[in-house]
């Protein structure tokens, strides 16, 4: 009897130990057992243009789910469902597998991205399909579709390398930016996940919601871009495989960045069909590449201002120093031709730029030397990484002696000669060209940037004073600018096509026609016509420009792949783009063209 009481005493002690002494520990475990913490994805921030036009938005996404325990016959429910919305065999197999795998009260995805019509039809026929329920999630939509695909980028389910420690990425259906602004501004756009505490039972069924802490929605990102101008630029490019960039000269804001052909960014959200992948991969015009930042081209004659500035800055030449052009230039045994067969005669810097005389720049390049030219090109934004807020950019290449030596070759003077006209090893991106012309136009080391506001707050860089001066003497810059003015506006300039119709607003520019393969002497002597070559061997057509000449505001670069000649293919496009920029004047106004401030307020209401 005493033994029994003692035994019960032991149990009582043990009870005290479990319930009271270690109670807190077990209570915590109990909470872990029954409280399931789930994250709730916040709405992703929108992407807007400079006037508040929505470029990337969230749309409700209707999904059909199946709760197996609510139907007696899963097969029949799916049969009835597929009469309204077709399900292929793969879908069916996946659904049936999921039904087997999960507990019967867990909803299983039947079909994503239902149209409004599908949704309505399913709702009406709901009695025939027990267990089917419609759920609304969020999906990303791009109202401008392919027109801004390269700039905005796209979202897709996260992959291994996207995992950055944010537990939100484990949410089903979550999307992260994979390209463009969607990627570079991922942090701002994503927001912070809300937390929902649910009481669940041992089988995972949700009993009730205990607590809900709303997430922080992602910030809206406002771009400097003007969607209207972008549209106009793309319209003007038309069918060409081309890219064009419009910058605000004074602060580097990217007002338009077009790359054609393009793609529909929403495909990445829903899943890219296999056939589409193949089509993209085999297209020589590379629709997935943002040519403005990831396409590299020899700048051709558009590079000549950099050569001129390098020579002036290093005191190799003076603006008035004259060089003679007989139509060719001999360096040792090698003969380098001018684009004009008969030559230009004697030219100073102004004439050299205006006529785009190759022989003039062969000699200037030799006098300046390749390393000062490379230094100047870098200073002007070419062959160097720009601070553009996009996830990818090609750096291109401005060769130096050191670079050549590092590859095991000596630098040849002939390489300097061809570098003088932007050929040879030199490769730049259209964006770099636009930055280059903007820097020449303003004398400030502006950096290109797309983001203008985050959550409505201006980011820095919108003012000219935010950017340091280039530290180039004004007189040199003025000489070069004057040459560019003459290219377009002076009699005998190489790009009269680029002249603006309004004589009070003048554009300064420079053509470029960059060979993509070498032209042999034989071809040259037999009346070579590059426009008769197969498309992919024709020279690229380039044009860089800024306007107004006397008060630079917009910088434009146009690269038309295999467009043959800068003056005829690229210059008119650049002119029309510039006209559009000047008339819309996005950098000079705070409300979208054609709207009053009152309209603007109405437009900014959250939708």
């Amino acid at each position: 009897m005493g033994a029994q009481v003692a035994a019960l005493g032991v149990l009582g002690t043990r009870l005290y130990q479990v319930q009271v002494a270690e109670g807190a520990r077990y209570a915590t475990l109990a909470r872990d057992n029954s409280v399931s913490v789930r994250m709730v994805a916040p709405p992703r921030g929108r992407i807007l243009d400079r006037f508040g036009v929505v470029l990337a938005n969230n749309k409700q996404n209707w999904r059909a789910l199946l709760v197996a325990e609510q139907t007696t016959d899963v097969g029949r429910t799916l049969d009835n469902f597929s009469q309204l919305v077709p399900l292929d065999d793969r879908d069916r197999a996946r659904i049936e597998r999921d039904v087997k795998r999960h507990r019967r009260f867990i909803p299983i995805l039947v079909r994503d991205f239902l149209s409004w019509d599908d949704m309505a039809r399913i709702e009406v026929n709901a009695p025939d399909m027990p267990g089917i329920l419609i759920d609304v999630g969020a999906t990303r939509v791009y109202p401008f579709e392919d027109k801004l695909a390269h700039v905005i980028g796209y979202v897709a389910p996260p992959s291994e390398k996207d995992v950055d420690g944010d537990p939100m990425l484990s949410l089903p259906g979550i999307r992260v930016g994979k390209a463009g602004i969607e990627k570079s501004r991922e942090t701002e756009l994503r927001g912070r996940a809300g937390v929902m505490q649910l009481e669940v039972n041992a089988y995972g069924r949700v009993i009730r919601e205990l607590e809900r802490q709303e997430g922080i929605p992602g910030d809206d990102v406002g771009l400097a871009l003007d969607a209207g101008l972008q549209q106009a630029v793309l319209d003007r490019i038309g069918n060409e495989s081309a890219s064009a960039v419009v910058l605000d000269c004074r602060n580097g804001e990217v007002l338009a960045m077009a790359s054609n052909p393009s793609f529909d960014p929403s495909l990445f959200n829903t899943g890219v069909p296999q056939a589409q992948w193949k089509a993209w991969a085999s297209d020589p015009r590379a629709p997935l590449i943002n040519k403005a930042t990831d396409g590299v081209y020899a700048p051709g004659s558009t590079f000549k201002m950099a050569v001129a500035l390098a020579a002036l800055q290093s005191h190799a030449i003076t603006p008035e120093e004259r060089f003679f052009c007989p139509g060719y230039f001999d360096l040792g045994n090698a003969r380098f031709h001018c684009w004009r067969k008969g030559g230009h005669g004697s030219l100073n810097l102004h004439g050299g730029i205006k006529n785009s005389c190759d022989v003039f720049f062969y000699q200037v390049a030799l006098k300046a030397g390749i390393d000062p030219i490379a230094a100047m090109a870098h200073r002007l934004g070419m062959g160097t990484a720009l601070e553009i807020d996009l996830p990818n950019q090609r750096i291109g290449l401005i060769p130096t002696r050191e670079w050549r030596r590092s590859r095991g070759h000596p630098w040849n003077l002939g390489d300097t000669v061809v570098s003088g006209i932007g050929q040879g090893y030199i490769q730049v991106t259209p964006l770099q060209l636009a930055v280059y012309v903007a820097r020449v136009a303003t004398g400030r080391a502006i950096e290109p940037h797309l983001t203008r506001t985050i959550a409505g707050e201006m980011v820095s860089g919108a003012h000219a004073e935010d950017w340091p001066r280039l530290d180039l003497p004004d007189k040199y810059l003025a000489a070069v600018r004057y040459g560019m003015w003459a290219v377009v506006n002076d009699r005998g300039g190489t790009a009269p096509e680029a002249r603006l119709p309004d004589p009070h607003v003048q554009m300064a520019g420079k053509t470029g026609s960059a060979q993509v393969r070498r032209v042999s002497r034989e071809q040259r002597e037999h009346g070579f016509d590059s426009s008769k070559l197969p498309w992919k061997y024709r020279p690229n057509a380039l044009f860089v420009a800024y306007a107004p000449y006397d008060a630079p505001r917009y910088a434009v670069s146009v690269v038309i792949e295999h467009g043959n000649a800068g003056a005829t293919a690229a210059a008119p496009v650049a002119r029309d783009i510039m006209m559009k920029a000047l008339t819309r004047d996005p950098a000079g106004r705070t409300t979208a063209p054609g709207t009053t401030p009152a309209d603007q307020v109405a437009q900014e209401q959250p939708t």
Partner: protein, 386 residues
Amino acid sequence: MRETGVIDRRLWRETSFDLTAKLFRINWLYVLLLCALAGVGYVALYSVGGGSAAPYAARHAMRFAAALVLMVGIALIDIRFIARLAWPAYALALALLVVVAHAGHVGKGAQRWIEFGGLELQPSELMKIALVLALASWFHRASWERIGNPLFLVPPLLAVAAPTALIVKEPNLGTAVIVAAIGGAMFFAAGVRWWKFVLVLAPIPLVAQLLYNHLHDYQKARIDTFLNPESDPLGAGYNIIQSKIALGSGGMWGQGFLHGTQGHLDFLPEKQTDFIFTMIGEEFGFVGALAVMGLLCLIILAGMATALRCRHQFGRLVAFGLSVNFFMYVFVNIAMVMGVIPVGGVPLPLVSHGGSAVITVMIGFGVLMSVHVHRDVEFPDRRDEI
């Protein structure tokens, strides 16, 4: 003085008395304690049912009511008559155990149950009572000298070993241990020398090792996971861990009636049967659980009091044996839910849901009460005959 003694003797040593007198002699306080325990069961099962009398609490109450009538009925039967039934009852229980070994209903992987007139019976439960009666009947007649004779102890040893072996084979390790323990307690109470226990118990570690090797995997798993429950938190150790978690989350004062999360969210397994005490501990805390343990302790002590007050050896042994039986139920169950001993299918009597257990436990209490009612009857023991 002598006259008084004669009168006293007549008054206390009544050989027979009428029904009213018997009813008057029933220990109604004891009945009240049992009702209180069943009430605890009702409350706990009401909570298990999710705040509803269906499906457990109402049935539990009805069964208890029926079993209570049965118990009082048995209490009125003369203990000397019951004594005559001891060995037949033992034989019947043993036969049922044999039957269940061959044709029993399989529940949870063990053959333990037998259908008996619409009522499911666990013969092992009946055997506990029958064994107590049989051993009491055996030792009741024994003089000290005979108890000292080892040969005299062989038949009762076999009487304990046979059902124990059958129950181990069922397999129901928990109950087998209880049966063996009851047998041992009876031997002890009968006055068997302690060194004889040592003699029998000494080889147990060896036997245990041998036995362990022949155990079913799930029984081994129980012992293994008992030794280290965290080793398999979602498998065999789940029950023990969840039970401890639920108890611990009750804390000092409990989560409140109907507010125990672990039980209600089904984290706690078998909460209406084996783990009902955990349910109580979670909702009413250490205080509530301790109160229930106090109640159980009172019931055991009251049974012991009956044994002490009984004037014949048979009654003493029966009351003691049945109290030990009840104690073993309680100890094994509570020790199990707190992770002190391995999990075994032992319910908490009168609290856990389950018809068979209530009926058999109440039959046992009926016999115990019969001892109490007939504590003073002439019941010649043959201690002095030889």
